[in-house]
């Protein structure tokens, strides 16, 4: 061996590339820098969770989310009209005291459709995100901890998937398999897997160099035990932040698929599908049929993002 200067086995990879690469539309909000910061600083102790309760953003976000959850579960009970009953004599009526949000071209009450439209999006979104988080965490742990050939091969695959906007991938598969609640859930979950895997991998790379990892190995623990029992609890805060942000993107994905006609199918009330059905009426001035479902989507997304932001702030502080 020639001496003290270790030959770099590879050129120094530009440091900013990785963090930023995960910030694209196809990727996540929390770059690995953020994940690493959370992983390094964050130990989710009860004291930290109490900090969360003191954040206004958390309460506002939780309030919005709770409102839509109540609508999703009990919406059909308290909606002023049936979301499905048509009354062609009352079609395209603007907001009034009888119909606060007006009526659509089939005379259905827009307010009732907005309230009940929360149901499917709030079923698909968490399920898809949980699926993606479980698979992505397993893959990311394996990539980060095992490294070597496995990391190289999986890394290339992840890179290839990320070269395409996630809406395009999800769209192709849903078109192929047909739009149904299970298909949409699984496809969105699978599309999220590489994105989450990358964040988890970065967090694991930070942990792998901590003393407790070789200590666990010396105690004779096997790889899967080191990964899941030792490293996983320490990267959980990073995964939690990734999960909440991803939840926001799942809302985005479901709504977009619905808008393109490959999500929830009419006449089931759904915000994205209702917008798709009625936006041709915009030039005629029927703005209420479209604007209120649009605001519903925007408010749900904002609620989720406020919670995600509050959790990240608390864990990184």
């Amino acid at each position: 061996m020639s001496g003290a200067v270790p030959q770099p086995t590879e050129p120094v990879v530009p440091a900013p590339v990785d963090p930023v690469a995960s910030l694209d539309r196809t990727g996540g909000y929390l770059g690995p820098t953020g994940a690493a910061a959370v992983a390094a600083a964050g130990r989710a102790t009860p004291a930290r969770w109490r900090l969360l309760l003191r954040r206004t953003t958390f309460w506002v976000g939780a309030g919005i989310l709770l409102f839509w959850v109540v609508c999703a579960i009990f919406g059909y009970l308290f909606a002023p009209y049936s979301p499905l009953t048509q009354n062609l004599l009352l079609a395209n009526i603007g907001p009034s005291s009888a119909h606060w949000f007006g009526t659509d071209p089939l005379g259905r009450d827009v307010l009732s459709r907005v309230i009940t439209g929360a149901r499917y999006i709030l079923i698909i979104t968490p399920l898809a995100t949980i699926l993606g988080t479980i698979l992505g965490t397993a893959l990311g742990l394996a990539m980060g901890y095992l490294g070597g050939a496995f990391d190289a091969v999986a890394g290339r695959l992840v890179e290839a998937v990320l070269a395409l906007p996630f809406v395009i991938i999800a769209f192709m598969f849903v078109v192929a398999l047909g739009p149904s609640v299970p298909v949409i859930t699984v496809v969105i979950g699978l599309v999220f897997t590489p994105l989450i895997a990358r964040t988890v991998r970065t967090a694991v790379l930070v942990e792998r160099h901590m003393d407790y990892v070789p200590a666990a190995r010396l105690l004779g623990e096997n790889s899967s035990r080191v990964m899941f029992a030792e490293i996983l609890p320490n990267v959980l805060p990073a995964i939690l932040v990734e999960f909440t942000v991803r939840l926001g993107y799942a809302v985005f994905a479901v709504a977009t698929l619905s808008f393109l006609g490959f999500g929830i199918q009419p006449p089931t009330p759904d915000w994205g599908a209702d917008i798709a059905a009625n936006y041709i009426g915009l030039p005629a001035g029927y703005w209420w049929q479209v604007l209120f479902p649009a605001l519903a989507i925007a408010s749900l997304v904002t609620g989720v993002i406020l919670i995600a932001d509050a959790i990240e702030q608390v864990l990184a502080s």
Binding site: P11, V17, V20, A21, T26, A163, P165, L260, A298
Partner: protein
């Protein structure tokens, strides 16, 4: 530097190969038989078989992949099932349209995003910072059709300032084309603002905490000079990568915006190809997006290396 470039190029080729395989396989799972789609449901089985043979879809999967790949390497993207002519002119026209829209969005969003990010960084942790960060993140998660509809209602329908479709028609003047593209560009600007601002903010905070910034402040340089000569120049490096990673989204991820505004870009082309089961067109379109993304990322890596001497030294081993 040469080694670094070669390595990056090698990885790029590998990613493109995996991408082509993925796109090809995804195209294959589209349900239904292309000959059926062309001839209609009432076609005689013998006619369907004959057309299948003529299209070459009755050959084994591997043979078809290899012949498709061979064609790609010769610049032949294939023959559309739907139009029965080469797909290349369609792709070319759509790509040019997409580039026009993407360019306009970038010209607006890059300065805005950087400005927002730098302002947030200078007021880090305070109200302005929180407002810019949370708003940016929420906007980037709100589906484009939601913000698109809001701008159509406000500027197109109520105020009547701008046209609500994106296509100016054949032979329209540059000014008219530009006017038609303003409304579609706004949702894109809103989506991208959050990403770019966040990167610029993170980069600026890093630089503000660095030793050389402290030195510059301590030796008595005015704040304006410190910002202009020492901070901005370095803080903008990560922003280059985020811009590169967004090109894939801007070139092909715009299915929704292009549908909403009836604009004939790549996203719209892919949507129609998927709906009409035009496998060849779909594969070609998706692959082009992937190529644009991969090449843009490579350019960003090279730019970063050129602009950051530390990375350059690492690569000259």
């Amino acid at each position: 530097m040469a080694t670094f470039l070669l390595r990056r190029l090698g990885l790029m080729v590998l990613t493109l190969f995996l991408l082509s395989l993925m796109v090809f396989l995804a195209g294959q799972i589209l349900p239904g038989d292309p000959a059926h789609a062309i001839l209609g449901n009432l076609a005689a089985p013998s006619a369907v078989q004959a057309l299948d043979h003529q299209l070459g879809v009755d050959r084994p999967l591997l043979t078809r992949y290899l012949s498709w790949l061979g064609g790609l390497l010769h610049g032949n993207l294939g023959t559309s099932y739907e139009y029965q002519t080469a797909v290349e002119p369609f792709i070319r026209a759509a790509l040019i349209n997409s580039i026009k829209l993407a360019a306009l969005a970038f010209v607006i969003v890059v300065p805005l995003g950087i400005l927002g990010g730098v302002i947030a960084a200078l007021r880090v942790g305070r109200g302005t910072d929180r407002a810019i960060s949370v708003t940016g993140l929420s906007l980037s998660t709100v589906p484009e059709f939601v913000s698109g509809i809001v701008v159509i209602v406000v500027f197109g329908v109520e105020l009547k300032w701008l046209p609500v479709t994106a296509s100016a028609g054949a032979g329209a003047s540059v000014w008219s084309q530009f006017r038609h593209l303003i409304l579609p560009a706004i949702p894109l600007v809103l989506v991208l603002f959050g990403y770019i601002a966040r990167m610029a903010r993170a980069g600026t905070i890093d630089v503000l905490n660095s030793d050389y910034t402290r030195t510059a402040v301590l030796k008595g340089l005015p704040q304006r000079t410190v910002l202009r000569r020492h901070v901005l120049r370095n803080s903008l490096l990560p922003t280059i990568t985020v811009i590169a990673t967004q090109t894939g989204y801007l070139i092909g991820g715009l299915v929704v915006v292009e549908t909403l505004f009836n604009y004939h870009g790549l996203g719209n082309l892919i949507y129609n190809a998927a709906v009409h089961k035009d496998e060849v067109m779909l594969e070609a379109g998706v692959l082009i997006i992937g190529i644009v993304y991969v090449v843009a990322t490579l350019i960003a890596d090279v730019l970063l290396t050129l602009l950051n001497p530390r990375l350059r030294i690492g690569g000259t081993e």
